[in-house]
Symmetry: C2
Subunit: 414 residues, 2 copies
């Protein structure tokens, strides 16, 4: 039996205990974790320094080093997130449906934990605590496989979480971290059927593709976001400019940022300059099709590569479309099923767009930036699912549960 199979076995045993834990037991463990992380922030920062130094020596980019870095404030933020989690409703045990059958059977559909969740992630050490505590609150044991860049930080955080749990009445194996950061350990985790019930990759497109392709354990894909905003001919132009500016520039690196605007031809001559006047305030480069460039002198000519591209930067693609059908078609061809928006005062056009666009979230007159567990009112989330099975959109606590049918009879046979 390999080391990972051993971990899987221990996780499965811990998951059985955790599945029947009371809300209070779980909250006490979370509270101990928050306290211990905060009390030991110096140890965390010391370990993090080793990762930062190794990263500098390895020539990691400034942005990556920033993601990797922990300080007192960031550790306190992690602890605060855990305390917010304590206040959220326990997703386990909810009665989702009650069915009374003519033969007298009562069938209760209830929410139960999924069991053991595997998380494969990259450089951010805060994911170690965030993901583990979300799993704990939802009654799931977790096996964490972080990136090698953050291994020292991850190990001390995991150790502190495990020792905090030891002081509660739950088993420390509710949280396990794989210390081996080789590609092999990730591959093995992806094939730990029978021990791991669900795998969530968190990171770049390459990581996600690798997990989707190689995993035999069910995967929840937290995919890329190429979000479009369609400005209809009946749009309020000021609103369109404000929303596009927000969706593009409030945080360009995130998956719910807008990457492409589609403008109805009847409104383009008036709307495009107004939108561009906003975007220029943050120096956004507009890559436009021919009709866009004819209106906006300083737009750059888009190439085929610009459609469907996730820039994650102060760049936006722009296409002038003949009508709403062409906008819907463009999104069908290039969208990633994350978040799409229409700006219009015409309710019929809005209804058409909302119904025909196939995405996790479809917006009418609002910014795509709202696709987020907090903004939807779900509290913390573990990612945004862009696939359709199990969960779509923000993966909050409820999305980390499965169902079970409890059937009550008094001797019924079939």
């Amino acid at each position: 039996m390999t080391q990972l199979t051993e971990m899987g076995k221990r996780a499965r045993v811990a998951a059985r205990r955790l599945a029947i834990a009371t809300t209070e037991e779980k909250n006490n463990a979370l509270s101990a974790i928050a306290r211990d992380l905060e009390d030991n922030y110096l140890r965390i920062i010391d370990a993090n320094k080793i990762d930062i130094e190794a990263g500098e020596n390895a020539g990691l980019s400034k942005a990556l080093l920033d993601r990797l870095r922990l300080d007192e404030k960031r550790v306190a933020d992690i602890a605060d997130s855990i305390r917010e989690l304590i206040d959220l409703a326990d997703p386990v045990g909810r009665l989702l449906e009650q069915i009374e059958r003519p033969n007298g059977l009562t069938i209760n559909k209830v929410a139960v934990p999924i069991g053991v969740i595997g998380i494969i992630y990259e450089a951010r050490p805060n994911v170690t605590a965030d993901a583990a505590t979300l799993c704990l609150k939802s009654g799931n044991a977790v096996i964490l496989r972080g990136g090698k860049e953050a291994i020292h930080s991850n190990m001390i955080i995991a150790e502190l979480m495990r020792s905090a749990i030891s002081g509660s009445c739950l088993p420390p194996d509710c949280i396990q971290l794989i210390s081996d950061t080789s590609r092999e350990s990730a591959n093995e985790l992806m094939r730990l059927n029978g021990y791991v019930d669900m795998l969530i990759p968190r990171g770049g497109a390459g990581l996600i593709r690798n997990v989707v392709t190689n995993s035999t354990v069910p995967v929840i894909e937290t995919g890329a976001g190429t979000c479009h905003i369609y400005v209809d001919k009946a749009a309020d132009i000021d609103m369109a400019a404000t929303i596009i500016f927000n969706a593009k520039t409030s945080r360009p690196s995130v998956c719910n940022a807008c990457e492409c605007m589609l403008i109805h031809q009847n409104i383009a001559a008036e709307a495009l300059p107004a939108i561009a006047a906003e975007l220029v305030k943050k120096g956004v480069e507009i890559r436009g099709d021919e009709r866009t460039c004819a209106i906006l002198a300083n737009a750059v000519a888009a190439t085929g590569d610009d459609w469907g591209r996730e820039y994650g930067d102060y760049i936006i693609a722009c296409r002038v479309v003949d009508n709403i059908e062409q906008a819907i078609e463009h999104i069908f061809d290039y969208g990633t099923g994350h978040s799409e928006a229409i700006i219009t005062e015409d309710e019929q056009q809005a209804a058409k767009f909302m119904s025909q666009i196939d995405a996790a979230a479809v917006y009418h007159n609002a910014s795509t930036r709202f696709t987020d567990g907090g903004c939807f009112g779900f509290g913390a989330e573990i990612g945004i699912s862009t696939q359709k099975l199990h969960a779509r959109g923000p993966l909050g606590l409820r999305e980390l549960t499965a169902v079970k049918y409890l059937v009550y009879g008094d001797g019924q046979i079939r």
Copy 2:
């Protein structure tokens, strides 16, 4: 572009139209399909004869030939099932949740079709019509890949369904059948990411394992059922005997049949002879552990292989356990997460069992045979899911849908 990619592309186009079809449009298409299958039953039976002859020449077992065979009555049954489907509620468009946010956003969580569903199945030609029409009613395009044994039957059924749809306002590509029954075509379907949103294998353990291992498209596992019935020391013995007899013998080949009984030691001496007296009526062989064999003279000694085994036959394993904990432990070790039951008059023991057993359905004082879409009141189903993601238990129309968030604003930005 391969032929299968072409099919995937056509399915995706058809799925877009089907996703916005009204209930009436879908029901009209279903009604035309039922009528055309019935009107053309002679053509179906002729094609089926070719399969039956080929099967006889290939030396297929009598049981397999029986599953393969279609006659007027069986075609009429298929048509009747489709008509029942028409009466079921449309699962698409249901408002699952409505969230009002403090910033004025209204978020509607609604049920939408999944998109394109692939079904890989074995010898039963009725699956061709059953699965395709369930998908149609739930707004999903389907790509069917049946076994080679039934290929002529499947092709005529698919052709008739497609021509029936042609007469409606929906595209015939809502239903496509892969005529190539080679292993390669199945493998290619399993990797048609971007075209196929979900894959459901229907068949034996080998087929399901193959799909789970090789598919990169998300799979809903309709797994094996090794169902246990635990007879607690506080059981009503007559009830236990009646339920076990029903769960074992009413249809031994199905996945919700009971394969193993676990008897509390305090009640074994009295309960076992009573249960055995029922089972003997249908000649059920009891494979017991030592304590069982000490009570039942004609029990056969069980070997290690008998625990966790799905006989699908008139055989049942039996173990005398020290207490409920040992029963729960046995089910943890050998259960497949399908259906498990406790027989007891003690509510506390029942509650413990219901909470600690991790299975799609857990029963108190009822037969495991009820795990079925019809018995749960869901109507027709496409299988029983024994995995935890997306859907667990009977896969009815509602389980063939995904969700979408519709967000309504009046200019909100973040």
